[in-house]
């Protein structure tokens, strides 16, 4: 503690970066802690500079960038099709959605219409991926606050989804399944039956999961009324997806700015109701994700019943080439919310500029404001409830 108090006069500090970080905190005798970058509950390599007086934090400043792989720069160097595997790495937990956002942006640039069957393949893939992502989120969140048991339960179900996705595209994590103009492979034979078998099994698991963890008395006590975000604040900080809906804003890109085949399927958009605490608390964010898994099951069942016959790839030129300066913007609902790609076409076969706006990036921006007056243990729950994924923040 005394070390921290002396820190600004310390002449051995040479790194400008440290000075830059420490400059932001006034030295009032508070303890300064580095939470991260290697910390099991920060969901990847993120650093939090925590200014604290005992257990209660005054402030937690997120320091990101440890996983910056300059994906946007790579997007300017490789061809349009060649960038598709890199989009997997933007968000490896929901790689399908990251694929889809980029594919849709380039398709809008080219004016390509994707065949109906390919759209259904995409929806089946992304919705399966959404369930697996929410399972990870729910599992790790319960583990972060001390309940280890639900995590293997969630991962067990995720394994079934991984098997299904592996059968579809050959990969279990970074799929590279979507193509500009369609998808890489058609649904394998007998896939519908396997999917329905899984859904029959999984829909029984969800109430069990709810009994085990969501409505568990200890879990509710731990998360109710924790770090509530009002609707105005959520919109101001540009929170998206489940985090925004937990604050009571009924907005889902799939419903409000429909794309792909979402107008043809029926589903509901769950919003936080403050069932056990106030609207927008950490429990609401957890609950919204569990409800979304139910809705994804509903969408999947309808997709399986409605999928038409036909091609899975539109007619595409071998080399995609466009005039320089064309630009297109795509919005999709990833499992971490409104994911947006902004693509400017270049003169050659590659893009001039690719910008990825992800849900985790804006969600990290709110932590500084929310952390004031929280307990350190609650910071862990707050990060987990926002469901941030480090590679998606840094790209």
């Amino acid at each position: 503690m005394t070390e921290a108090r002396r820190a600004p006069e310390n002449p051995t500090m040479e790194m400008t970066s440290n000075k830059e970080i420490l400059r932001r905190i006034e030295y009032t005798g508070d303890m300064l802690l580095n939470m991260g970058p290697q910390h099991p509950s920060t969901h990847g390599v993120i650093n939090f500079l925590v200014q604290t007086d005992g257990e209660v934090m005054k402030r937690a400043i997120p320091e990101v960038g440890y996983l910056h792989r300059s994906i946007e720069k790579i997007g300017e160097k490789v061809t349009y099709n060649g960038f598709m595997p890199y989009t997997d790495r933007v968000d490896y937990i929901t790689a399908m959605c990251a694929n889809q956002g980029y594919a849709m942006a380039v398709e809008r640039l080219l004016g390509v219409t994707v065949p109906k069957r390919a759209e259904y393949c995409r929806t089946i893939a992304t919705e399966l991926n959404r369930i697996s992502s929410h399972l990870i989120s729910a599992g790790t969140m319960s583990m972060d606050i001390g309940a280890v048991t639900p995590f293997p339960y969630a991962l067990r179900e995720r394994e079934f989804i991984n098997d299904l996705l592996e059968e579809l595209c050959g990969a279990r994590l970074t799929y590279n399944y979507l193509r500009i103009g369609g998808v890489a492979y058609d649904l394998p034979e007998g896939y519908a039956e396997k999917l329905v078998t899984f859904l029959d099994h999984f829909e029984k698991i969800l109430p069990e999961f709810n009994r085990l963890i969501t409505y568990n008395e200890i879990f509710i006590q731990r998360l109710a009324n924790l770090a509530p975000i009002s609707a105005e604040m959520a919109i101001d900080y540009c929170l998206v997806g489940p985090n925004l809906r937990a604050s009571g804003v009924k907005f889902d890109v799939r419903k409000d700015i429909p794309y792909s085949i979402y107008p043809e399927v029926q589903f509901e958009v769950p919003v936080g109701k403050g069932e056990v605490g106030v609207v927008g608390d950490a429990w609401d964010r957890f609950w919204v994700r569990v409800e979304e898994m139910k809705q994804s099951c509903r969408i999947l069942r309808q997709c399986v019943a409605q999928v038409p016959r036909g091609e899975v790839m539109a007619k595409m030129p071998r080399k995609i080439k466009m005039t320089e300066g064309l630009e297109a913007y795509s919005r999709i609902e990833s499992s971490r919310g409104d994911m947006q790609y902004y693509v400017v076409a270049g003169a050659a076969e590659n893009a001039y500029r690719v910008k990825v706006r992800t849900g985790s990036f804006t969600a990290m921006g709110i932590i500084d404001a929310l952390s004031r007056g929280l307990m350190i243990a609650d910071l862990v729950a707050l990060i987990a409830s926002l469901d941030v994924v480090a590679p998606e923040i840094d790209r």
Binding site: M15, T16, S17, E20, R24, V64, G65, H68, S70, E72, K73, E76, R108, L109, G111, I235, D236, Y237, C238, V249, F251, D256, I257, L326, E327, A328, Y329, D338, Q340, Y342, V344, Y352, R353, K355, R357, F361, T362, M364, G365, I366, A369, D394
Partner: protein, 200 residues
């Protein structure tokens, strides 16, 4: 409201600071004079007709050919569910634009990212420093003329291609083969396995 209507509202209020609606192939956009951007944004957010309560995305694009940097604001209204796109064109040598952090809090991190990667100066930003890269990094990588330094704190930023290693390996093998051809096998190779006697 459609983009045309919003542009008309802006043109009435701000006159020459707001340009005409540019009919792009996909999303129409409006050019705004850089010095007016903060007021235009504040007006778009507070006016009950537009109510742009969310800054969805903030991007900058470097155009060395035209000697300018474009800053693009994607606005969205949760109240009315409409989208609007603003662009500001800055001088490439000194890209300065007023910050909109006071209008939307989301702009804090989004502006820091564009400052970090493209070097756009957002005037009035409370904490404009690098976000992705280390604070002592030199240059802004998403500029088109960016050249990476050969090392960072004595860590090399480049590495040999793995294919070069294979080429070297092939050459070594060739050299070894040539050597054995020169000196024919006078003695038995040292590494030949000794014959094991079978236990009877």
């Amino acid at each position: 409201m459609t983009a045309e209507e919003i542009q008309q509202v802006l043109a009435e209020k701000f006159g020459e600071s707001v340009g005409a609606l540019q009919p792009a192939k996909q999303d129409p956009w409006v050019l705004v004079k850089p010095e007016a951007i903060a007021e235009v944004c504040r007006f778009l957010k507070t006016d009950p007709r537009t109510r742009m309560d969310s800054l969805m995305n903030l991007t900058a694009v470097d155009w060395p050919k035209r000697n300018q940097i474009d800053v693009i604001y994607h606005l969205f209204s949760y109240a009315h569910r409409h989208v609007f796109i603003l662009k500001a064109q800055l001088d490439r040598a000194s890209p300065v634009v007023p910050s909109v952090e006071g209008v939307w809090k989301a702009a804090d991190w989004l502006e820091r990212e564009q400052f970090d990667l493209l070097g756009v100066q957002f005037q009035g930003h409370p904490d404009l420093r690098r976000i992705m890269l280390p604070d002592d990094w030199v240059g802004h990588p998403l500029r088109k003329d960016y050249k990476e330094e050969s090392d960072y704190h004595r860590m090399s930023t480049t590495r040999e291609s793995p294919l070069d290693g294979f080429v070297r390996l092939d050459e070594l093998k060739k050299r070894a083969a040539a050597k054995t051809a020169e000196a024919p096998a006078a003695q038995a190779p040292a590494h030949a396995p000794a014959k094991k006697e079978m236990p009877s």
